[in-house]
């Protein structure tokens, strides 16, 4: 990977919010913290800020690396940095860990000051709408009245869309990548299987596993393995693993024989070692619930009537979890409402994961779009 033009050493910041946040569910969180990072310089009129919304397993460490940890690059370091498509020479870029996360922001594994114990099962079920409300408070704190752009892929794309609907005056451009206006039944089904794996793990203890000093590793691992299958394309799996056998022969056993099995288990183990099971549950529920058309009788045209932003919608040809067809479902109501919108369908072999990969044409599209945004915010 080319790290020569990385943003370099970064550090995380922490913001405390003491005004209660009322969730969509009616639950109230009296106070919370968000951990975030910023890259680049906020200009004098604070018009060059870009918010990066993360996907299911993402966090605030978007670009650069921490002092003494050169290998720990941000998850979108290829996209965000000096001279990169999301250009930190021009923009003030913010990455945050969403509320309910497990990377430093208040979430189920955080200590509830009321009880002195981790929130665990008591952490409220959160929605994309709640996230946008919590992110807006971070924007307030940083003095950002309106974002030049809100950018996100997958679940992050849903947040970017929600910004344009809930706070239309506070976002000038939306970049919605590899996302959809709601999940299909098939997608919810995948999430349900993932949740079932976690909920059924005897070490889950109804979400309060912290006080038993155990982690529902088996459930989390299964959930991740399933997720991973859906993030890759059939082609890329065939290409990367095919029917390769680790020992070069069948062992007629239930051990790891095929390379794909080895890969999936490795990914599952890696993930289960650091990710919080309750956060995983919350993230998948937020995905399932997102549906801006819901309160408009299923009419997405009406839902998007509130939007004032310009949009760039991007999909990837081999992404079957958030297919190009689903991206078009975002484009259509934008056309109906006469929003400025461009749509690019990127030919990529990497399935849903494509949005995280370096791809010349994909990066050219994002760069071209944001270069114009930069000119606009420089005016």
């Amino acid at each position: 990977m080319n790290v020569s033009n990385s943003i370099g050493i970064v550090s995380a910041k922490r913001a405390q919010f003491d005004t209660p946040l009322v969730f969509r569910s009616g639950a109230v969180l009296p106070r919370y913290e968000l951990v975030y990072e910023t890259y680049g310089k906020l200009n004098a009129d604070k018009s060059n800020a870009i918010l990066i919304c993360h996907a299911l397993s993402g966090h605030h460490h978007v670009a650069g690396h921490y002092a003494g940890e050169p290998g720990n690059l941000g998850w979108w370091d290829n996209m965000v940095g000096p001279g990169k498509p999301i250009n930190t020479d021009k923009f003030f870029v913010i990455g945050l860990n969403n509320l309910g996360g497990c990377n430093g922001s208040t979430g189920p594994s955080s200590i509830d000051p009321e009880t002195g114990q981790p929130y665990g099962a008591n952490f409220p079920v959160i929605t994309v709408e709640d996230w946008v409300a919590s992110q807006a408070r971070l924007a307030d704190l940083l003095g950002i009245r309106r974002f030049a752009a809100v950018v996100g892929g997958s679940l992050g794309g849903m947040q970017a869309l929600q910004w344009s609907l809930a706070l239309p005056e506070r976002v000038r451009h939306v970049l919605a990548i590899a996302t959809a206006p709601h999940l299909t039944a098939q997608n919810i089904a995948f999430n349900d299987v993932a949740r079932s794996a976690i909920l059924g793990d005897p070490d889950f203890h109804g979400g309060d596993f912290y006080r038993h000093n155990v982690v529902p590793t088996r459930g989390l691992r299964l959930a991740r393995m399933l997720g991973h299958i859906t993030y890759l394309s059939d082609d890329v799996m065939a290409d990367k693993f095919g029917r390769e056998l680790r020992d070069g022969k069948f062992n007629y056993s239930y051990g790891i024989e095929f390379e794909i099995e080895s890969y999936l288990r490795y990914q599952g183990d890696k993930f289960a070692a650091y990710f919080d099971a309750n956060t995983y549950l919350l993230m998948t529920k937020a995905l399932d619930y997102f549906d801006p058309a819901h309160e408009f009788g299923g009419d997405l045209n009406k839902a998007f009537a509130a939007a004032r932003a310009d949009f760039l919608v991007i999909s990837f040809t081999t992404d079957w979890r958030f297919s190009p067809q689903r991206a078009r479902e975002i484009v259509r109501p934008l056309l109906h409402n006469r929003r400025n919108v461009s749509y690019a369908e990127i030919a990529s072999t990497h399935g849903h994961d494509s949005f995280l990969m370096e791809h010349p044409h994909y990066f050219d599209v994002v760069r071209a779009y944001l270069d114009n945004v930069a000119k606009e915010s420089a005016k």
Partner: protein, 204 residues
Amino acid sequence: MTRDDIARLAAERPDFAAIAAWIPKGASVLDLGCGDGSLLRYLNETSAAKGYGVEINDLDIVSCIVNGVNVIQNDLDSGLSDFEDNAFDFVILSQTLQATRHTEALIREMLRVGHEGIVSFPNFGYWKNRLRVLLGNMPVSRELPYQWYDTPNVHLCTLHDFEMFCDRYRVAILERRVMTGEREVSLLPNLLGSTAVYRFQRGI
């Protein structure tokens, strides 16, 4: 877009000025096969027209975005299902008709999505083209810059062919401009005109 850019485009693409002359101020347009978005920029400059382009080519998508033109990546031959009935004042097919596969279906889609359609295409009946064929070769010219083996043009036609097509498929032609270069042609247009531009609507 500067005044020079407009002059340059008008010289390079004589059909642009002909099309612009039909577009009233502030009209909504859909440009099918919009390339790098030049026509949409031109129409925005000359008629304050607003709208979207449809294009399949990756490099053109980037160019449109650079040019600040709304572009939707799609294959015209798969239809215009992203667009609603009567969504635009004009749906334009500029120098693209001859490269479409399902021409009849596309014209029908144009008139579903737009109140009026506009097409421009190279006239295969132009005398220089006829002469080339008469002399034994496929024509290669400014309007038809391809060799027979690498041309995207699968449905070339003459003015007469297009008008017969409109008659057959109940497309009502409203206006026609025929030109050679920037010069308007009125005498024997099917023989002396190299480019044709038509404005049409649904017929009865």
